[in-house]
């Protein structure tokens, strides 16, 4: 990048700059989850037998379903960015709405999944859970903390996408200025990416 291209952004919207900011923010999110991944790795090594047993409790079907749902939603976000770039406003909004519906499906599945665990009295602090072997206890601690934190990120992502829809409607986002939809899209992919790691760790590796 030639240095002379540095333009004072008070005069120009700095497309590169805002994207760079978003990437940095995504780094911080990855490190936030990274701390939990580290804790998972430590305890998985320490209590591998207990983790094996506890992971069989998780519902692989719902997990797989949610993975598919999130992957499709990532695709629809990407498609809506392409739609904005080719000036198809209506199509972009429709695609974002589909994304929101998919995100809601994810959350509803999550609700039933967690609800089932609560029915089995497998919630943090419950007597059943506390009496389990230490490793299983920690597995469920991690399960609730990681999927819970991820669910919060899904909600934040949904809010961001909703704001984006309104900004498209009001004409703030258009073919000439689409960094906001791109950044919300990046955030949504992050939510997806973290899930792609959570899914095998919690559901597949038993």
């Amino acid at each position: 990048m030639a240095e002379i291209k540095n333009i004072a952004p008070s005069e120009h919207h700095d497309y590169q700059g805002s994207k760079m900011g978003m990437w940095l923010f995504i780094f911080t999110e990855l490190f936030l989850f990274g701390g939990l991944f580290l804790v998972y790795a430590v305890f998985r090594t320490q209590y591998s037998a207990d983790f094996h047993k506890a992971a069989e409790e998780t519902n692989t079907f719902i997990g797989t379903l949610n993975t598919v749902v999130l992957l499709i939603s990532s695709m629809t976000v990407a498609m809506s960015i392409t739609a904005i770039q080719s000036n198809q406003k209506g199509r972009a909004i429709r695609l974002l709405l589909v994304t929101l519906v998919l995100a809601s499906v994810f959350m509803v599945n999550k609700y039933f999944e967690w609800g089932h665990k609560f029915e089995l009295k497998l919630y943090p602090g419950s007597e059943v859970l506390t009496n389990l072997p230490k490793g299983e206890l920690l597995f469920f601690g991690l399960y609730f903390m990681m999927t819970g934190l991820h669910a919060i990120h899904v909600l934040v992502g949904m809010i961001l996408l909703t704001v984006t829809i309104f900004r498209i409607k009001s004409g703030h986002i258009h073919t000439g200025n689409f960094s906001m939809i791109e950044n919300s899209g990046l955030y949504w992919h992050l939510v997806d990416l973290i899930w792609i790691f959570l899914f095998p760790m919690m559901y597949l590796i038993t």
Binding site: I4, M20, T28, P124, G125, L138
Partner: protein, 551 residues
């Protein structure tokens, strides 16, 4: 921009946007105003925490209970630590002087994301309010120490959750500032300012910002895990629930050791700006200083284990962390040599900023060398958790970051307010501060070696002489701080008008009006020389001759 054309002369202090008065400040997105907002908060909290520190010193002047009981004392050192660390030294220089000077130094009109900048100030205020509430609410001030070590912090009945949440939010504010600075430095340097034509304070802010962005989330999630432990009984760190307390220490120090460099790197950056200006000479070893900032940030990421030599980690990890701790001292030493060499052969003007900068080097050296005692495995076992550690990190944090803050405020004050403070009072305040500081902390090295533990409310009579001296030092130090604050506050209104360039500095901020206009530069400058270019050799010779004639 249109408004700057209609009021070309109005400074950022007088400029009126959409709102007037206080609301104009609270809704501002101007980096200079946000810097001042940060500064006012930080100064107020600094005095609060300093007074807490003073009461601790008074309590310890005699053995046994004097003015408070042991639980209050535990609360005081925790509160003192939380306020000083999370609200003052970590954001301190970057949020105040980074915000103020970074865009000026790189020839930009503002930071990359001005609204985000204001947002991070609000986060700071929310975090600060929570921290203050944790002290006042029913349940009692948290008594865990600022490190929140589990399992105690998971069990203590005091307001630990409030303090944890406060630290989490303050960390988030910090991340956003760092993010903003990285993008600003990448995208908004003036045309022609290549990376190696960038002044060195931005270099140090750049290194700092990366630590802020990459390390802070780790402490964020760690604090969340402790909150989960208290609220939801998810026992990642509680042995009774299968967790591991040493794991907490690892996660905590993975952030909190690099945080030491978040504190000290901008301080080094400020000092690097001051030495060339007051020596009227280009900085010695520009490249070495720039690269050593990055080296400190990088190596500083991998030394956290030296806080845990007595916590039960393996022999090889101790060896490894100790080795890296010695390595990280090298780039710091490089900087010290460069500062001293910058003065060599220069025309030195001993004005208050330089005096503070030299004191910084002196105190930082003591802090740095005693750090090596602690980094060495054998001596660490003897010195761990004694007042030697307290003295060491106060020499680094207060003697380093604190004195750099004083140097910075005396350096950029004319630019901030367009006024000059009294040099005479600045020297007097310096005298009290410097003497008080050393009297307060130096005896703690000695009684620490003799075995005085830190965080203890009571002690054996043979340590009394040290605590007594510390107590007197605390009073003298506070007098110095009050004098300094008075000198600066008084002259905002009544000081002499400052010229645009009172110190004959050559970096960009001195080429514009004092105080600057809203958008800093009428026209964005085009950079041709390195930042510390004092003219051609001919020009410098002529200047030197005229100086000798005049004196």
């Amino acid at each position: 921009m249109s408004h700057s054309e209609t009021h070309p002369q109005v400074s950022y202090l007088e400029y009126q946007g959409k709102y007037k008065g206080i609301l104009g400040w609270l809704t501002t997105t101007d980096h200079k105003r946000i810097a001042l907002l940060y500064m006012y908060c930080i100064v107020v909290f600094f005095f609060v925490a300093a007074i807490l520190g003073l009461t601790m010193s008074i309590e310890k002047m005699r053995p046994g209970q004097d003015i408070m009981n042991a639980q209050t004392y535990n609360g005081l050192f925790t509160v003192h630590g939380i306020i000083m660390i999370f609200m003052i030294v970590i954001p301190g220089l970057a949020a105040v002087f980074g915000n103020f000077a970074l865009p000026l130094l790189i020839g930009a009109r503002d930071v990359a994301f001005p609204k985000l900048n204001l947002f991070s100030w609000y986060l700071y205020v929310i975090g600060a309010i929570l921290a203050v509430l944790s002290q006042l609410l029913k349940g009692g001030a948290p008594d865990t120490g600022w490190t929140f070590y589990v399992p105690y912090s998971a069990g203590s009945s005091t307001n630990v959750i409030w303090a944890l949440t406060a630290a989490f939010i303050l960390g988030f504010s910090n991340i956003l500032t760092g993010l903003n600075f990285i993008v600003t430095i990448h995208r908004m340097r003036a045309p022609g300012m290549t990376w190696f034509k960038m002044p060195l304070f931005p270099w140090s802010l750049y290194a700092t910002a990366w630590i802020q962005v990459l390390a802070t989330p780790i402490v964020g999630i760690t604090l969340l895990m402790v909150i989960a432990e208290r609220v939801l009984h998810i026992g990642f760190f509680d042995p009774a629930l299968g967790g591991d307390p040493v794991l907490f220490q690892h996660l905590f120090w993975i952030y909190s050791h690099p945080a030491v460099y978040i504190m000290i790197l901008p301080a080094m950056g400020v000092i690097t700006e001051i030495f060339p200006t007051f020596s009227q000479k280009p900085v010695f070893g520009y490249g070495a200083i720039a690269i050593s900032s990055l080296a400190i940030a990088f190596v500083g990421y991998f030394v956290w284990g030296h806080h845990m030599f007595t916590s039960g980690i393996s022999y090889w990890s101790k060896w490894f962390f100790s080795f890296l701790t010695f390595i990280v001292a090298v780039p710091s030493a490089i900087k010290v040599f460069n500062w001293i060499s910058t003065m060599y052969g220069g025309s030195i003007q001993m004005r208050p900023p330089l005096l503070y900068a030299i004191s910084f080097v002196f105190l930082f050296m003591i802090g740095g060398f005693t750090g090596l005692f602690l980094g060495a495995l054998a001596t660490n076992v003897q010195l761990h958790d004694t007042t030697f550690v307290v003295a060491h990190f106060h020499y680094i944090i207060f003697g380093g970051m604190g004195f750099a803050f004083f140097a910075a405020i005396h350096y950029w004050y004319p630019k901030m307010y367009g006024k000059m403070y009294s040099d005479r009072w600045a020297y007097i305040a310096w005298g009290f501060t410097f003497v008080g500081f050393n009297l307060l902390y130096f005896p703690q090295f000695i009684i620490g070696v003799q075995g005085m533990p830190r965080r203890y409310f009571d002690y054996l009579p043979q340590f009394q002489w040290g605590h007594m001296l510390s107590g007197f030092g605390a009073f003298i130090l506070l007098i110095g701080l009050i004098l300094m604050a008075w000198n600066l506050i008084y002259h905002v209104k009544r000081g002499a008008i400052a010229p645009a360039n009172p110190w004959k500095g050559v970096t960009l901020e001195w080429q514009i009006a004092s105080p600057p206009t809203l958008e800093n530069f009428e026209e964005i400058p085009v950079i041709k020389h390195n930042p510390y270019w004092f003219g051609t050799e001919e020009e410098i010779k002529r200047e030197k001759k005229s100086v000798t004639r005049n004196t």
